[in-house]
């Protein structure tokens, strides 16, 4: 995407971007460079005397069947949560944008989940999804053993997906609503006068107008589900049962920081970055084409 009209004061351009670049270099690239170095060596936890081992760490990762499982799982997880969360938030935002009686309360309340710290989310979900109490207790009463995420890996993954989608729903809602609010009211009114029904207007007018927001949210949600699902998993399943919820980042955390094998973790971090990069480039290259700017 390019702007036709641009300015030519390049000193100013440089000045404007310099602080951000400095921070990113200092707190991201330098440490990440170090991790890259570790991925090619064997790094003892306390440092000192690492040996260069070439691609041995990567080979160890590729040779591990559990690793490939975690990659597939992460992809399913990313696409699933993003679809659930953005879809759900879109419905709510479209309806809330109608501005009926009492909607200011809804607008405020929908954001709340994002403000809840991970530890509390874990507890709340533990109560909500427990097989012998609450809603699912009732379900299990009718059909015994139907819901048990502590034994059924698929259900456990689904539960975490709901947790992540729940957390991000508030986030998505805020940006979608902000986007919808900036769609000129006059356009909607004009369309209404031309006889376009509510659903038509939502589908043909409002949604296309906020495609840049959608694109932003897709990218953010997908990356976030890769990188930020850590807290949720740590509180809810710790990767179990039998690794069924061991996503890529959680595996990195376990291998690197619980087991102190920094090199193995670094190799996986590099691969994770590469994967997200490929996915993002794909999104920019193919999905952004459909985005309707201006």
């Amino acid at each position: 995407m390019e702007k036709r009209v641009t300015f030519s004061n390049y000193w100013l351009a440089g000045l404007f971007i310099a602080p951000q670049l400095f921070l990113v270099f200092t707190f991201f690239y330098w440490p990440t460079g170090q991790a890259l170095y570790w991925s090619l060596t064997l790094e003892p936890p306390f440092g000192g005397g690492n040996q260069f081992v070439g691609l041995q760490n990567f080979m160890a990762v590729f040779g591990d069947a559990h690793y490939w499982d975690s990659v597939i799982r992460s992809l399913v997880f990313a696409l699933g949560t993003t679809a659930i969360s953005v879809g759900f938030a879109t419905v709510l935002a479209l309806f809330a944008d109608r501005g009926l009686f009492g909607h200011s309360i809804f607008k405020f309340a929908y954001f709340l989940p994002y403000a809840v710290p991970a530890a509390a989310v874990g507890l709340a979900f533990r109560f909500t999804f427990t097989p012998d109490a609450g809603i699912f207790g009732a379900v299990n009463h009718i059909i015994p053993g139907l819901w048990d995420p502590s034994r059924n890996g698929g259900q456990a993954l689904f539960m975490i997906m709901l947790g992540q989608a729940w957390k991000m729903a508030g986030y998505n809602f805020v940006f979608l609503l902000a986007g919808l609010q900036s769609v000129p009211r006059s356009m909607i009114e004009a369309a209404a006068m031309d006889g376009a029904g509510v659903f038509r207007r939502m589908r043909d007018m409002q949604m296309p107008m906020i495609t840049p927001t959608f694109f932003f949210l897709f990218v953010i949600n997908i990356t976030d589900s890769f990188v930020d699902s850590f807290g949720m998993i740590d509180v809810m399943t710790r990767g179990g049962p039998s690794r069924a919820t061991e996503l890529m980042v959680y595996k990195i955390y376990l291998d690197g920081f619980e087991a102190k094998d920094y090199s193995l973790a670094a190799a996986q971090s590099m691969l994770l970055m590469l994967l997200i990069m490929v996915m993002t480039i794909f999104q920019f290259r193919y999905v952004e084409r459909r985005v309707h700017y201006n």
Binding site: T6, L21, L23, L92, V121, A124, F127, A133, G134
Partner: protein, 303 residues
């Protein structure tokens, strides 16, 4: 509103109420847990109705975690991150979208890639940087100097441990904001910049007088999100703050009152959840305050 059909209004309300229930249940559970005493909160299943111990639990956890002090620290940190993010991202996005120079795309991707590796998995090397934030620059200087004989520049050390800068700066160094502004700037009609140029306004004027006022809603949304995000940061503060008397944050205290899984200690969920409620309050207030900027809600501002 444009038009009202009774049936559709009812549908709208139903959808919104269902959404509310779904999103609210876990928070309600936190609230209920905070209102029970130690014994009932550990009953399985936990009662679904609140009880009368809320105030008692709130006072207890308020004192236990020393919230009077840590709230202020958290406020400074979260505001710092929110403001810093809003300002820096607007600037960098402006540079990327409204200027055409060769490094532009590279810069964008350099910033953008930071979304892809969370702090959690690069925390050890990041900590080393925080101990001396100028060490990367020093590293680059040393590298360059190694090719130039008899030149060596020694930068001073800049220790970020136990400081507000240390709590704020690394959290600002991500791409969410830049990306959001980029998305927004791209939707702004070309005519605006054209007209501004025609009027003889420079890039700076255009940025401050036209772009920034237009970005208000997005800015408010971003600031809110970042405030909450920074407020709930846990891993990073606990690592770089050892002087807890001065720099402890609210979320850190929360980590202390929420029982860990492995110590066989009694799970004092009631006070832990009371602490959660307290910790959640400031972000909520911010949401309420900021909302009038990005939600048409009560005051209908036509555009």
């Amino acid at each position: 509103m444009v038009e009202r059909t009774r049936l559709f209004d009812i549908l709208t309300q139903i959808v919104l109420i269902i959404g509310l229930v779904i999103l609210f249940t876990p928070i309600y559970i936190v609230f209920v847990a905070a209102s029970h005493d130690f014994k009932t909160v550990n009953m399985i299943p936990m009662p679904m109705l609140p009880s009368g111990h809320l105030w008692e639990n709130l006072t207890k956890s308020w004192q236990q975690a020393g919230f009077s002090h840590v709230m202020i620290t958290s406020l400074i940190v979260a505001s710092g991150v929110a403001i810093g993010k809003v300002v820096l991202s607007a600037m960098s996005a402006f540079s990327i979208v409204y200027f055409r120079y060769r490094l532009r795309l590279i810069f964008f991707w350099l910033i953008f890639i930071t979304l892809m590796l969370p702090l959690e998995v690069r925390i050890v090397p990041t900590y080393a940087v925080a101990a001396n934030a100028l060490s990367p620059v020093q590293g680059v200087i040393d590298f360059i100097a190694s090719y130039i004989p008899q030149v060596s520049i020694q930068l001073p050390e800049w220790n970020l441990l136990n400081s507000y800068e240390g709590l704020i700066l690394p959290l600002i160094a991500t791409a969410t904001g830049t990306f959001l502004y980029r998305q927004f700037f791209l939707t702004i009609p070309e005519e605006l910049a054209e007209a501004a140029k025609m009027d003889g306004a420079g890039a700076l004027r255009f940025f401050f007088d036209i772009l920034m006022p237009l970005s208000k809603t997005n800015m408010a949304a971003l600031a809110t999100i970042m405030f909450v995000w920074a407020w709930n940061q846990y891993l990073w503060p606990i690592l770089i703050v050892t002087d807890q008397a001065h720099y402890a944050t609210a979320a850190m205290q929360l980590g202390k009152v929420v029982p860990g899984p492995s110590f066989g200690e009694p799970p004092v969920w009631n006070t832990a959840m009371a602490a959660t409620l307290i910790t959640m309050m400031p972000p909520l207030v911010v949401v309420i305050l900021m909302q009038r900027w990005f939600v048409r809600g009560l005051v209908a501002t036509e555009k």
